[in-house]
Amino acid sequence: MKLKLHIWRQAGPEAPGKFHVYEMDDVSPDMSFLEMLDVLNENLQEKNEEPVTFDHDCREGICGTCGMVINGAPHGPQKLTTTCQLHMRSFKDGDELWLEPWRASAFPVVKDLMVDRSAFDRIINAGGYVSVNTGGIVDANAIPIQKHVADQAFDAATCIGCGACVAACPNASASLFTSAKMGHLGLLPQGQPERLSRAQNMVAQMDDEGFGHCTNHGECEAACPKGISIDFIAMMNRDLTKGVTKEPVTR
């Protein structure tokens, strides 16, 4: 099939960017979206044009490296699917596609479709862990955990940290990402001791990074390739309120 691609090209964080138009002939429906871009890049290089920069690695939908906005939708039109797992049969001959990087001031563009998501790591640094060191641990079966609780914690833990939630949110909020980690740890017995301080510290860091607030649009859940529920945002807000009132953290 033939496609017309409008791709955001930007040389660096400070450089102005704009859409460039590329015509693609002979796109196979069996290609993944990123393989289609690989072909484009091979063609560009043959014409001595610099290839389009985009982040990608595992191409199995689990590492969270890839991601771009395709016709206004983070990771494109298919639900519960990362960009690397999207296939060209989702499109039809003659389609025009607009490819953009995640748009958020907390995710500055590095080059073309690649952005800097290090703000996510800094949110984790603020408390997205259980403070135990290696060794001196009780037996793994010493603390039974109800299956439905473990399963719910798992649902939160499936977050791959891709940033689609931020790109989808009109406020560029990182609430779904942040609350997913808090939900994962906060539901498990191992995460209880730091639960309330974790909520306060991670939310404060999210604010410091320049992410917006959650105003219940729900776009994040719709865009999330792992289908993480905004129920975790409600849980986060509850822990935050409880923490601020019962065990306030001074920063």
Binding site: S28, D57, E60, G64, V130, S131, K147, I160
Partner: protein
């Protein structure tokens, strides 16, 4: 070069405890005076960096990804083995040890494997304490499943994403130490050289993948946890950016490379769909419990599968291995698929595929039962191929999955360069010639959480506790070498892209050094690869500049190393005149086509010493001693 394995004396079960007592320690107040570099943040690297920092060492960690959480350990699906015996089914440290040595076709060190089995139980405790959400029973305790190569259920799992959950545990431990100031983490940094001062590893040279800046980093010791080299084949189940560069450049400085020809080919992957293919996707081996593998009996039969009558189908695994049938081991299943396709009986558009058919299981159990067992896998298959496996048989083909070979290390995980360590898939130590399922995660975390934190003290205690700097001339020299290498790649300004060379190399490796190897093919490859390498350096086209974000340049550097490394793999495969585990030499098989090991002549580790590009490396042999298990032939019939 003299290879000292430093395996402790004494009975197998007491070696590790005795060794830990004999190793020198660094006192707590002195630990902060030492700096350790850890390259790679997968399971081995992240767990090592976090633990060394917790002990009090200054740690500098590096990864090429934009976040430490994205290392390729994340893609592991099945699980992690541990000898917990929670199922009361007769498991023990000894049984895990025995299964692993046997599964590796008796080409691993007994002492290393026994230690791995011992610490496996601590890994599970550690992960649970970090909040890793392993699967649980209704009673609230941990669940286990069984896996290939074992008759007990010892595999802990987290849905189909055990790798991601374990890595998040290690990543969070790492970020905890970053927040405390104990780890200086450099993401989007690729290690391009190791720096030796007076023959000992004293630092690395990296390229900042955003700015392109070449930087030096000094330390008292360097740990490489940089993964495997499956991408030498271009198509593999590895992530796109996995590479051999860190390990290979250490090899060029004198670190011996062990058993490079041991690669694992996984039998059940989705076949290549065209020239655009960039990577291969694994379908869980568990599908072979209910799927039947077949190809048409006649060559070139292009009828759709449902039109091929029963008596014109060849269920070749059931025919050749009646007792194991479709559950034959990975290496056998992979080679048999290749044979069928090479005979012209492969299916699908490319002819490189075999059917994995669920028709009989669906008729027997109903579609709902199959959906309950494999629903998510069937969905993934349909997303990629656009075919409904409930209605038409899946098409599968083997793909490169894991590399058992790696940098040679002693019992302390130190390479043949003092102060340079290798952890996880980057070393060669525990899996012999074939790795069992769910053992890669175990080894990565064993090395990082428990082995290196104990063994590295012994080396550091011998170093002066004075700050290290990058002032030595060797750092400047390494920076110059790396800068020139990159500039040379940009200056070729030829006509072919990096990928086109990588694909050509991958094809050579796959055809001549893949599932089955023979003398003629390997000799041809050893002639052809140097020619291709010469063409690469004469005609590669790398656009853009060195001092900026440049993915083509990153890739070019990695492929340049694969161009040399591929030759080493072929040489190793040629020299090993036997078949063992993932290494199948067509000349060495039984009348029934089984692998024929030669313990009398080849029960050794091949450790190669670099002698120059295009020069024959020197082979050093570390004899393997089996004092606790009896060498036996693996039988599948």
């Amino acid at each position: 070069m003299k290879l000292e394995s430093n395996i402790p004396d004494g009975p197998l079960a007491e070696k590790w405890d005795k060794h830990k007592f004999d190793l020198k320690l660094v006192n707590p107040a002195n630990k902060r005076k030492y700096t350790v570099i850890v390259v790679g943040t997968g399971l081995a690297g992240a767990s090592a960096a976090a633990t060394l920092s917790e002990l009090g060492y200054n740690v500098k960690a590096f990864c090429y990804q934009d976040s430490a959480r994205r290392a390729h350990s994340i893609a592991a699906q099945g699980g992690i083995n541990a000898a917990k015996n929670y199922q009361n089914d007769g498991d023990s440290v000894w049984r895990l040890f025995y299964d692993t040595v046997k599964g590796g076709d008796f080409r691993a060190r007994e002492a290393n494997v026994y230690r791995l089995s011992q610490v496996s139980v601590n890994i599970i405790d550690q992960c649970v304490a970090q909040g890793v959400p392993f699967a649980r029973e209704y009673g609230g305790l941990l669940d286990n499943r069984s896996f290939g190569g074992a008759q007990v259920s010892r595999t802990f799992y987290a849905r189909g994403q055990t790798g991601q959950q374990l890595l998040l545990g290690a990543y969070q431990a790492l970020q905890k130490q970053v927040a405390k100031g104990g780890v200086e983490l450099h993401t989007r940094h690729e290690m391009l050289d190791v720096v030796l001062v007076d023959g000992e590893a004293r630092g690395i040279v990296t390229r900042d993948l955003v700015s392109g800046k070449i930087e030096s980093h000094a330390a008292h010791a360097v740990c490489l946890a940089t993964g495997g080299y499956g991408n030498v084949f271009f198509l593999s189940t590895n992530a796109m950016n996995c590479n051999v560069t860190a390990a290979y450049r250490a090899y060029k400085h004198g670190a011996a490379f062990a058993n490079p020809c041991y690669t694992q080919i996984h039998p059940t992957c989705i076949p290549v769909s065209g020239d655009h293919q960039s990577k291969l996707t694994l379908m869980s081996e568990s599908l072979r419990n209910d799927g039947r593998v077949w190809v048409p009996k006649a060559k070139g039969d292009t009828r759709p599968p449902h039109e091929i009558p029963e008596d014109e189908r060849d269920y070749y695994l059931e025919r050749k291995y009646p007792s194991f049938g479709n559950l034959s081991p990975r290496d056998i299943a992979s080679r048999s698929a290749k044979e069928a396709c090479d005979e012209g009986r492969g299916v699908g558009p490319s002819g490189y595929g075999v059917y994995l058919d669920f028709r009989d299981a669906i008729n027997r159990l109903g579609e709902d039962a199959i959906r309950a067992r494999y629903g998510n896998l069937f969905e993934m298959y349909e997303r990629i191929t656009d075919e409904n496996p409930y209605q038409v048989p899946m098409r599968i083909y083997p793909a490169v999955h894991y590399t058992m070979g790696g940098l040679w290390v002693d019992y302390n995980l130190m390479t043949s360069i003092p102060g340079l360590y290798a952890l996880g898939e980057a070393n060669f130590s525990d899996h012999g010639a074939n790795r069992l399922g769910a053992s890669a995660l175990m080894q990565g975390l064993a090395d990082g959480y428990f082995v290196i934190p104990a063994t590295i003290n012994d080396y550091l205690a011998r170093q002066k506790p004075v700050p290290v700097t990058t002032d030595a001339a060797e750092f400047k020299e390494a920076e110059r070498r790396v800068t020139e290498h990159n500039q040379k790649l940009l200056d070729v300004n030829g006509s072919r892209t990096v990928d086109s060379f990588h694909k050509e190399l991958g094809k050579i490796m796959w055809e001549k050094c893949g599932m089955a190897r023979n003398k003629e093919g390997l000799e041809w490859a050893l002639k052809r690869i140097p020619e291709l390498r010469e063409e690469f350096w004469r005609d590669v086209k790398v656009l853009g500049a060195a001092e900026t974000t440049n993915q083509s340049l990153e890739k070019a550097g990695r492929v340049a190393d694969f161009m040399e490394f591929g030759e080493l793999m072929c040489l190793d495969a040629l020299e090993r005149e036997e078949s063992c585990g993932g290494h199948f030499r067509e000349e060495h098989q039984t009348d029934e086509g089984e692998a024929k090991r030669n313990d009398a002549d080849f029960a050794y580790v091949s450790a190669w010493e670099f002698k120059g590009v295009g020069e024959r490396p020197a082979l050093h042999k570390e004899q393997l001693e089996f004092e606790n298990v009896e060498l036996a032939t693996r039988s599948y019939k």
